[in-house]
């Protein structure tokens, strides 16, 4: 083997080592978290942090779920996320249909209106919304989060669905109209099924955004029983401090589980959807 060939073999090997190390850097913290969530309390003080758990200590999950109230937080997150997803999809599909396929004077103005909030920093709406919800006695309710999540989900979703609808042939709608369908039936039986690809993308992106929300939840919710997973996690680590690491790791793992599961199942869809949202938005 001559020198240059040996050299290129060596570079390629070094390169592979680098890639593997890099992937380890991305994955190891998460694996470490999952492993640590199965450690018994004394393992944290007796063994170094990197060591593997001695067994599967599920009590951490039980503690986090019941005493640590993660079960309640999880339920709250699920309700607010799912209900707002339903509203986001329903509203952004119907608005997009009216914007793209129907004929009215103000539709360009309406499009700019919905697009205006696409990159606005969330902090700017906190004080007004807090004041409004206080007046309306909506603080510490699901509605405060559902309304806000829906409003903030609309801009990007209208953008994505309306761009998709623009490439939908008008002939399909015309055919349905000639068959005697009402406009509502055209929307429900023709346009919605044909927009399914865009709707699924919106569902996936918005699930991540809403499930991962912390700012709205920490501003509008102060009662422990109404907290969502993200604010619950903050509360949790404040309450439990350094006393019960195992339960904290279990709680973080519970908070990550839905996103982790969804990503594992639909990774290509998630990657495409989230990058499309960013680049076009």
């Amino acid at each position: 083997m001559n020198n240059s060939k040996l050299g290129s073999r060596l570079t390629s090997l070094l390169f592979k080592v680098f890639v593997v190390l890099f992937l380890a850097l991305e994955l190891y913290p998460i694996i470490w978290m999952l492993l640590s969530s199965f450690k018994a309390t004394q393992e944290f003080t007796q063994n170094p942090s990197y060591s593997l758990p001695e067994g599967f200590y599920f009590q951490n999950y039980v503690d986090a779920w019941t005493t640590g109230k993660m079960g309640i937080f999880f339920k709250n997150s699920l309700i607010t996320t799912v209900v707002s997803l339903v509203f986001i999809v329903l509203f952004s599909t119907s608005v997009s249909f009216a914007l793209v396929k129907m004929h009215w004077k103000l539709r360009n103005a309406a499009l700019s209106f919905f697009m205006s909030g696409i990159m606005v920093p969330v902090t700017i709406v906190l004080i007004p919304l807090f004041s409004m919800y206080k007046e309306l006695h909506l603080l510490n309710t699901y509605w405060s989060l559902i309304i806000t999540y829906t409003g903030f989900g609309l801009a990007l979703s209208v953008f994505l669905i309306s761009s998709y609808m623009r490439s939908m042939p008008d002939e399909l709608i015309e055919a349905a109209v000639i068959d005697g369908c009402s406009i509502y039936k055209v929307f429900w039986k023709v346009v919605v099924p044909l927009s399914m690809n865009a709707i699924v993308t919106v569902l996936v992106i918005q699930f991540f955004f809403r499930w991962n929300d912390m700012l709205f939840s920490m501003t509008f919710i102060s009662r422990t029983a109404m907290k969502t997973v993200q604010t619950g996690l903050l509360y949790f680590s404040d309450e439990w401090g350094n006393k019960n690491w195992g339960a904290i790791f279990a709680a973080i793992s519970i908070g990550v589980m839905p996103t982790l599961g969804l990503y594992a199942a639909l990774n290509k869809l998630v990657i495409d959807g989230m990058t499309a949202g960013a680049v076009k938005g």
């Binding site: 998460i30 509203f91 009216a98 309406a110 990159m119 700017i124 709406v125 990503y263 990657i271 989230m274």
Partner: protein, 294 residues
């Protein structure tokens, strides 16, 4: 047909509910905050019109200046890290890896989908020192670097650097995927032609790839700048802005002013200031794109 598509009632049914929610939760609050930023105190108690003096007050407020400076340093480091490493990674996907491409991309994108709070809590445990060494310190001991062990999140500079590292770690995969998609869009015959002309490695990157990537780079920069200018969650979840105010970002200070110190006017002014920062940087970067195109 035309009559049906012009049906005013139907248009209202389709648009009005969404428009009302959007108006109520996004549009009106933005205007309202801008209006509040001209007042001092708390509405109904000691609310007073002060014009632009909230914006003047910022520049003699030591905590604001500290948060502003810290925020700027954070933006500089994290934008370069996220976008720069994202670009390098995408080149790696494109030219370096032949097998397992999809798997590698899936792994690199993975941290992007994790909740920021969970990542913050996780990193605070990784860099922990009491009551027991976290992952990082225990690995240092394992490697015989025991004297490097320190309270990483208890010291201003190292806490700040851990915060930067964490946010680069989370987001670089996101930019890598965007750049990779753009690299795939460059026609292969352009790259081949450059190869034939003898352009390789760095020259290929500088003369062929980077110019084609310019629009997407600007989009990434805008996204990264606006994301880092308003940083809040990651710092709160990692350090609560501490030690002291070492990692207190502008958004966190806005939150404290409004909800802890009940200074709605001043808080709104800081929120408006952050919005202006985002608008200005977006306009500047868009301007750069336009001037290069013409």
């Amino acid at each position: 047909m035309e009559r049906l598509l012009k049906d005013k009632v139907a248009i209202l049914v389709f648009v009005l509910p969404a428009a009302l929610i959007y108006l109520f939760s996004v549009f009106v609050p933005i205007c309202w905050s801008t209006y509040y930023s001209l007042f001092s105190g708390l509405p109904g108690i000691n609310f007073k019109f002060v014009g632009l003096s909230n914006f003047a007050k910022m520049w003699s407020d030591r905590i604001f200046l500290g948060a502003f400076g810290m925020n700027m340093a954070y933006v500089a480091i994290v934008v370069v890290g996220q976008v720069g490493l994202g670009l390098l990674l995408s080149l790696l996907f494109m030219f370096g890896i032949r097998k397992y491409k999809t798997l590698v991309r899936t792994i690199v994108f993975f941290p992007v989908v994790l909740p920021v709070v969970a990542v913050g809590q996780l990193f605070s445990k990784i860099f922990e020192i009491t009551p027991t060494n976290g992952l990082f310190n225990s690995l240092l001991v394992l490697l015989g670097l025991g004297n490097w062990v320190q309270p990483w999140l208890g010291q201003p500079t190292s806490a700040f650097l851990v915060l930067c590292f964490m946010d680069i770690w989370t987001a670089m995969g996101f930019y890598a995927i965007i750049f990779y998609a753009a690299l795939m869009d460059i026609p292969t015959d352009i790259i081949e032609a450059a190869h034939i002309d003898g352009a390789n490695g760095f020259r290929l990157l500088k003369s062929v790839l980077l110019p084609s990537l310019r629009p997407i780079t600007l989009a990434c920069l805008i996204f990264s700048f606006t994301g880092t200018l308003k940083v809040f969650e990651s710092s709160l979840a990692l350090t609560r802005g501490g030690p002291g105010t070492a990692t207190k970002t502008l958004s966190m200070y806005m939150y404290d002013s409004s909800f802890l110190h009940s200074q709605y006017g001043y808080g709104s002014a800081i929120a408006v200031f952050i919005l202006i920062e985002c608008v200005v940087i977006t306009a500047v970067l868009n301007g750069v794109l336009k001037s290069r195109e013409s």
